[in-house]
Amino acid sequence: MAMFSRRSKISADMVGDSAMSDVAFLLLIFFIVSTSFPEIGLPLILPSSQGDVKQIKRENVIQVVTARSGAHFINLEMEPTELPQIKVLLKERLAENENLIISIETHPEAPYGSMVEVLDSVWVVYDELRLEGIVREKRISLKALGLE
């Protein structure tokens, strides 16, 4: 009888050990499944096609135009502007004017990537301003340049 009770104790311990690795695997798989990579994107609300056309004051709009080559121009200036300068300029204009609308206008044959480049810079500028305590509602408009 004494021998039996000792054996049953040992076997009870062994069951716990063998299930341990299964539990570890289950936890591992659970965390792999639950931490599915979230998608990263730049969200935007498009204007409704039924909406009214509003007149906007010239000083409340800043145009960032992307040419077919992928070069960026601000307010149809003759010389292209590099992205870091665009950021500096947008930041200044946004800080002084809370109604500023950023109009991103892209040539239809320009690569999509150069439009996203601008959109990304605009997001970075809004983020930087928010960190400095200047909260601005995102007013972004996307447009394709007419082929004339």
Partner: protein, 135 residues
């Protein structure tokens, strides 16, 4: 007497891990089926420094590759087919976000036409999927 009891306690060990094996199989099949849902078109996404996490369950993807080919749900479609397809999806889920998985070298004109279709379908919430730059 002793021999019989030993056999009895030995048989209990494999049944206890049986449930774990069943769970492992269930989870294995769950995982493999989720990954096969959507393949899309071969693209290289544009990179960005900013960006927001977008909940996957609200997303419907529109794929546009470098040549300007448009696809929804693994179906290659024409641009004018976007409006009816998105309208149907929007009826099922009014909070839908249309995510553009577009190649960085795709011509912008295709995107403009696609967004015009979305406006007509009244699907105004869009997102441009990017890969985050490590900085």
């Amino acid at each position: 007497m002793n021999l019989r009891r030993k056999e009895g306690s030995g048989a209990k060990i494999p049944t206890s891990s049986m449930a774990d094996i069943a769970f492992l199989l269930i989870i294995f099949f769950m995982v493999t089926t989720i990954f096969k849902l959507e393949e899309g078109l071969p693209i290289s996404l544009p990179r960005s420094a900013a960006g927001e996490k977008i909940p996957r369950e609200k997303i419907a993807h529109i794929w546009v590759d470098a040549a300007g080919t448009v696809a929804i749900d693994d179906l290659v479609i024409g641009i004018s087919d976007i409006e009816p397809l998105v309208l149907a999806k929007l009826r099922e889920n009014p909070a839908l976000i249309i995510a553009f998985n577009t190649d960085a070298n795709a011509p912008y004109g295709v995107m403009d036409d696609a967004m015009e279709q979305l406006k007509r379908a009244n699907a105004l919430s869009v997102s441009f999927t990017t890969t985050l730059e490590e900085s």
